[in-house]
């Protein structure tokens, strides 16, 4: 009997405690002098850059401590979600990529509205990038980089296969890929283990095939009824049938080690890869001597004959940093600090990428990235990556359905039906 009483008392106390824990969402964080900062660079100059920025901020703001945590990219979203179960102990400043994942956080009231808190220079210098962090006319993040996608290729391998001009149409691309294959070169590196690199091929084909209206109703209302989605899938099937992807692409990861798809490109084991503008930075860490790949170059995703998409439209991501709704003023100060022109220039150098701040883009020297910037200046729009826009639920289902199709486990129709059933979960 005694045991029963004790057990009942403990259980009651526990219930009350857990209820109390649920109810403290309104409280603000106790300690404002320590900022917990989460980013996704785990190696090389990128990690060093954030450590340096944190140190510089601490120096400029005596008494404030920045706790930097670098989290592997693929683990980032899951860890963040777990940490934000209790926002009062979650990170203060963390990386975001927009789309539905960010919207979910906003809906749960966990992101701070920064509209009136960011410097005016951010609003002018990062005007285009800021749209990706703006929801319902409110700004929820400070962008650091703009990463449009496209095809990254090895100039030497293209030459070796006798290709002189980079392809501008889909048919050209198919022809060139075959030509590379015939020359005994793996034409396209594909990191299908992470699913999204394979899915990017489908997104881009859809961007070219679908009218802007059909594209918007798909990512907005999850309506994939337009014929262009089937056409895009069929085009990808055509490419897949040529057998131009690297062997064993299903278990090839995107960025980890020399056997990853980026590693294959870095070590001249494959001729090209469809990737975002972070590619030069990733490839740099994977070359044998860890220096920039000398013959890396870029061309935009080719146009598709009869496609209804906008000419020259780009797709890409904007990386920005959001602030926990419960965080103090120092966290806001910190995001303004990382957006300064000087820090943006250093960011561009450290990550070999395109900074969000337009004036800071002058420091980009990489010829491939310069090409990307020239396409970016010409592009009428830059769409968000489709899986980001759709959210992890439907986005992941889309990505894996595309991988299924590429390995012959599913059809084009399955892609659409998988997305529908994912929306029910």
């Amino acid at each position: 009997m005694k045991f029963k009483t004790i057990a009942a008392a403990t259980l009651a106390a526990a219930t009350m405690f857990s209820m109390a824990a649920c109810g403290n969402n309104g409280a603000s964080k106790a300690d404002d002098s320590t900022i917990t900062f989460w980013h996704n660079s785990t190696a090389g100059e990128g990690k060093q850059y954030w450590d340096d920025v944190a140190a510089a901020f601490e120096k400029a703001n005596p008494g404030v401590k920045v706790e930097v945590q670098s989290i592997q990219n693929e683990d980032f979203d899951g860890k963040l979600q777990t940490a934000m179960q209790d926002p009062s102990t979650g990170p203060d400043v963390f990386m975001q990529r927009g789309g539905e994942k960010t919207e979910d956080l906003i809906e749960a009231g966990q992101l701070m509205d920064l509209s009136d808190k960011i410097d005016d220079t951010i609003k002018t210098d990062m005007k285009t990038a800021l749209t990706a962090a703006t929801f319902d006319d409110k700004v929820y993040g400070v962008p650091v980089s703009v990463e449009p996608g496209g095809l990254w290729y090895s100039v030497d391998l293209f030459k070796q296969a006798g290709i002189t001009d980079t392809p501008t149409t889909w048919d050209d691309l198919l022809k060139d890929a075959t030509q590379l294959k015939d020359a005994g070169i793996d034409a396209i590196a594909l990191g299908a283990k992470d699913a999204w690199p394979a899915a990017h091929w489908f997104y881009w084909l859809a961007l070219r095939e679908c009218s802007p209206k059909a594209f918007q109703s798909a990512v907005g209302d999850k309506d994939f009824s337009d014929q262009c989605w089937v056409d895009a899938g069929n085009k990808l099937e055509d490419l897949n049938k040529l057998g131009v992807f690297n062997d064993g692409f299903l278990t090839t990861s995107a960025q980890q080690g020399a056997s990853s798809s980026a590693g294959l490109l870095a070590n001249h084991k494959a001729a090209m890869e469809l990737m975002g503008a972070w590619e030069p930075g990733v490839v740099k860490d994977l070359t044998p001597d860890k220096t920039a790949m000398k013959d890396l170059s870029y061309f935009a995703f080719p146009s598709v004959e009869g496609g209804k998409g906008e000419e020259g439209a780009l797709m890409g991501g904007v990386t920005f940093f959001s602030v926990n709704a419960l965080a103090g003023d120092n966290a806001v100060k910190f995001v303004n600090f990382i957006a300064s022109k000087e820090n943006q220039e250093n960011y561009a150098k450290a990550f070999s990428t395109i900074p969000a701040s337009e004036p800071a883009r002058n420091v980009v020297t990489d010829p491939a990235l310069k090409t990307v910037i020239s396409y970016l200046d010409k592009a009428p729009t830059m769409q968000q990556w489709m899986d980001t826009d759709l959210g992890s639920n439907v986005g992941n289902a889309l990505n894996t359905a595309i991988v299924n199709m590429l390995t012959g486990k599913g059809t084009v129709d399955d892609i659409i039906s998988t997305m529908k059933s994912a929306a029910a979960k």
Partner: protein, 358 residues
């Protein structure tokens, strides 16, 4: 007779006896209290841990499973109540069905592959020969190595352009795509699992074999039994309790299989490669996709499936090893009664046979 004795006892009107009885009662009561107190204090830590880390999560999981919930805030405020819809969706999802299928394939495959192999290895290692300690260690090493290292190592070795295929090529054999081809991937996984966990099975079997009395073998030898006959008629029957426990542990391990698959095939493509398990499905559709409500429902289904498997196995196979440990005295008595009845019937049968012979 007994009635008169009772009468004799009650008839004795002795005060001191009564006193003693009272004392006895009191001390019995205090012993009982102390006993209860000891049980409470000693078991409290275990019970608290069990309640908070097993029972409460199960209840919370069942509760979350009733919501369509993205994991931010609490389900009642940011989620939508959907009743049992999550459970229905999961059970109807062909991806989950195939994940269950793969899990049970691994479960059965592990038993079939590891069982006989581990007994053979244990038989070998139970003999005296030079370098026995070394081989014993070598067989146990994979079990000690972390799953992450095993997964990374094997996935590098087994790539299409990996070391194994390079070796095969030198032997003029054409290598296949061991892990990326959905046709072979699950068999590759089974081989890796066998390699990884057989050491544990061998150690268990070896321990079981060493507890078999040497005299039995000596007696069998005197009777002229050969090596294999001895193994069949002495080792196997006496090893049976060990085999049953090992099979139980192996089954539980298979039902929870996650890490190796997750390391080799990553977060997304386990299903494409045909190696997804219930746990990888739960992580992909629950945590990575951000469907915390749905994921909780899948977790509960997993729990129920595991519970059914475990209870069924315990009831039909393990109960004879667990007499007095996990089963209560009642069922033990029941079984003894049954046994006695059987013996009685056998005796009767013998008697009948005897009389018929006469």
């Amino acid at each position: 007779m007994s009635a008169s004795m009772d009468a004799a006892i009650t008839a004795r009107p002795l005060d001191e006896d009564k006193n003693a009885q009272d004392k006895k009662k009191a001390s019995a009561r205090s012993a009982k209290v102390r006993n209860g107190f000891e049980i409470t204090v000693l078991s409290a830590p275990a019970i608290i841990v069990f309640v908070f880390f097993v029972i409460v999560p199960i209840i919370l999981g069942a509760y979350y499973g009733l919501y369509k919930w993205k994991g931010f805030g609490s389900p009642s405020t940011t989620g939508t109540f959907v009743g049992l819809q999550n459970y229905i969706t999961a059970l109807k999802d062909p991806t989950f069905q195939s994940a269950i299928g793969h899990t049970f394939l691994v479960l059965i495959g592990s038993l079939i592959l590891q069982g006989p192999l581990s007994i053979l290895f244990a038989l070998l290692l139970n003999q005296k020969f030079k370098g026995r300690a070394l081989i014993r260690t070598l067989i146990f090493v994979p079990y000690v190595v972390s799953e992450v290292i095993v997964g990374t190592g094997w996935s590098l070795l087994l790539q299409k352009a990996g070391a194994i295929n390079a070796l095969l090529e030198k032997m003029h054999l054409a290598g296949i795509d061991w892990i990326a081809n959905p046709k072979y991937a699950i068999w590759t996984l089974l081989v890796i699992i066998t390699w990884k966990y057989i050491g544990f099975a061998v150690i268990l079997m070896l321990a079981g074999m060493q507890s078999i009395p040497e005299e039995l073998y000596e007696a069998a030898k005197v009777d002229g039994a050969g090596f294999w006959q001895m193994q069949k008629d002495i080792t196997l029957p006496l090893l049976a309790p060990t085999i049953r426990i090992w099979a139980f542990l192996s089954m539980i391990g298979s039902l929870q299989l996650f890490d190796l698959v997750y390391i080799i095939w990553g977060q997304y493509v386990a299903d494409t490669a045909g190696v997804s398990t219930m746990a990888t499905y739960m992580v992909r559709e629950g945590r990575i996709a951000g469907n915390y409500g749905y994921g909780s429902a899948v977790a509960l289904i997993m729990f129920i499936i595991s519970l059914i498997v475990a209870l069924t196995y315990q009831h039909f196979v393990l109960n004879r090893d667990l007499d007095g440990a996990l089963t209560d005295a009642k069922s033990e008595k029941k079984r003894k009664k049954k046994l006695m009845k059987e013996q009685q019937m056998a005796k009767e049968a013998i008697a009948i046979a005897d009389s018929e012979v006469k």
